[in-house]
Symmetry: C2
Subunit: 215 residues, 2 copies
Amino acid sequence: MEKDKIDKKDHILDVAEKVFADLGYDGASTRTISGEAGVNMAMLNYYFGSKEGLFLAVFKRKIDSFRTLLQNIGSDESMNAWDKLDKCIDNYVERIIANNCFQKLINREVSMNKRGDLTDKIIEILMVNVYEVKRIMEEGVNNGLFYKDVDVPLVIATLFGTKNYIVNMPQLSSLILGHDIRDEKFMENELKPRVKTYMKRLLKAYLVNEHDNSK
Amino acid sequence: MEKDKIDKKDHILDVAEKVFADLGYDGASTRTISGEAGVNMAMLNYYFGSKEGLFLAVFKRKIDSFRTLLQNIGSDESMNAWDKLDKCIDNYVERIIANNCFQKLINREVSMNKRGDLTDKIIEILMVNVYEVKRIMEEGVNNGLFYKDVDVPLVIATLFGTKNYIVNMPQLSSLILGHDIRDEKFMENELKPRVKTYMKRLLKAYLVNEHDNSK
DNA sequence: TACGCTTAATCAATCGTTTGATTAATTTTG
DNA sequence: CAAAATTAATCAAACGATTGATTAAGCGTA
């Protein structure tokens, strides 16, 4: 039946997404993916043409949800820059920290130097998110809500970088935090609100401060 | 001659570091590394035992030098926590942002969920550095120099995460910053002092602030 | 000669991919 | 409607290429 075919392809993509995230593109073999998905190895090539085709299919499936993540927030006229930034942080912590294996996959492949065709597409998608946040912050700077000399690009690096550091290196951040962040309960009840509070305080402290350099 | 042997080993490590960073651990073959270094393939195993041994040798060479640097800062009694943190930031920007291929290498391998002693060893060594910074910050909290309710683990995530975000995804951060960060001149004359200033202001604003949540 | 270094040749294992055969589903035909 | 023809889906097996690693012979120097 047609529906079963789609479900099976989707199941393969689900498994491939996780295996790619866990082992990397090179580390994930077609045998491992097919084995984990419970399908014959040849099915990967039958459905997706090649290993790279499978990887691209995994990636493309996620594109739409990422494209619309923040656009609604940015265009809401009823909120000021503070509220928008608040909502951005909430959304990122909820959506991206929770479901992180795709983020790991992306960041690892982008950090490679020798994968130009694939990298450009990923960069383009990531920039959509970045640009929304950038616009919000510049709005806050322009109307005087934020301190005029804030370094917007580097604040973005902090916002996304802090998040990446936690989710991309769970073993390391678990040691730093003193809990296993892969524990669902801890993640949901403690880490998420903690990261939200921290990020808001951190950005607030910096964005409104006059950056007095005197000692 | 003894000296030549050491120089050759060092040259192999230099090349291996770059190839590992560009292609990842799995993507970098021993043939590619030996070919790039201009030595026979068997020399890698002769000198370093195995591919993993070579990787660990690359890794240890970098981390050891950096650990001693951090420890010197941390144990300096003439500086308070502020000055130490200042110096940490300066050193990180100078040493790690400039020579970034090693950082990319580490972060990519740690972000894998691949089980094995290789990842564990990397984590273990990385934690030594993390603890040094953590110790400095807790020192500042304990003697009242920093605000008592700061979230030290997450500040560490910000400190390292911001840096990682910039150096691990140069294509993306170049777009955000509006300049190619792989341009040596821009990196040296603009980005480095800019990141230093930003990180210090950001951490200072957060660490001394009372985190007023009222609007 | 004896020893440390270097090499080409080679190993078994694994890689991504392809093949040919078989089964299941669908369409066409009488 | 039923039989035949066609297409789609699935599988085990094997392909050539490449992987990390090892071997034994050759090299230069002390």
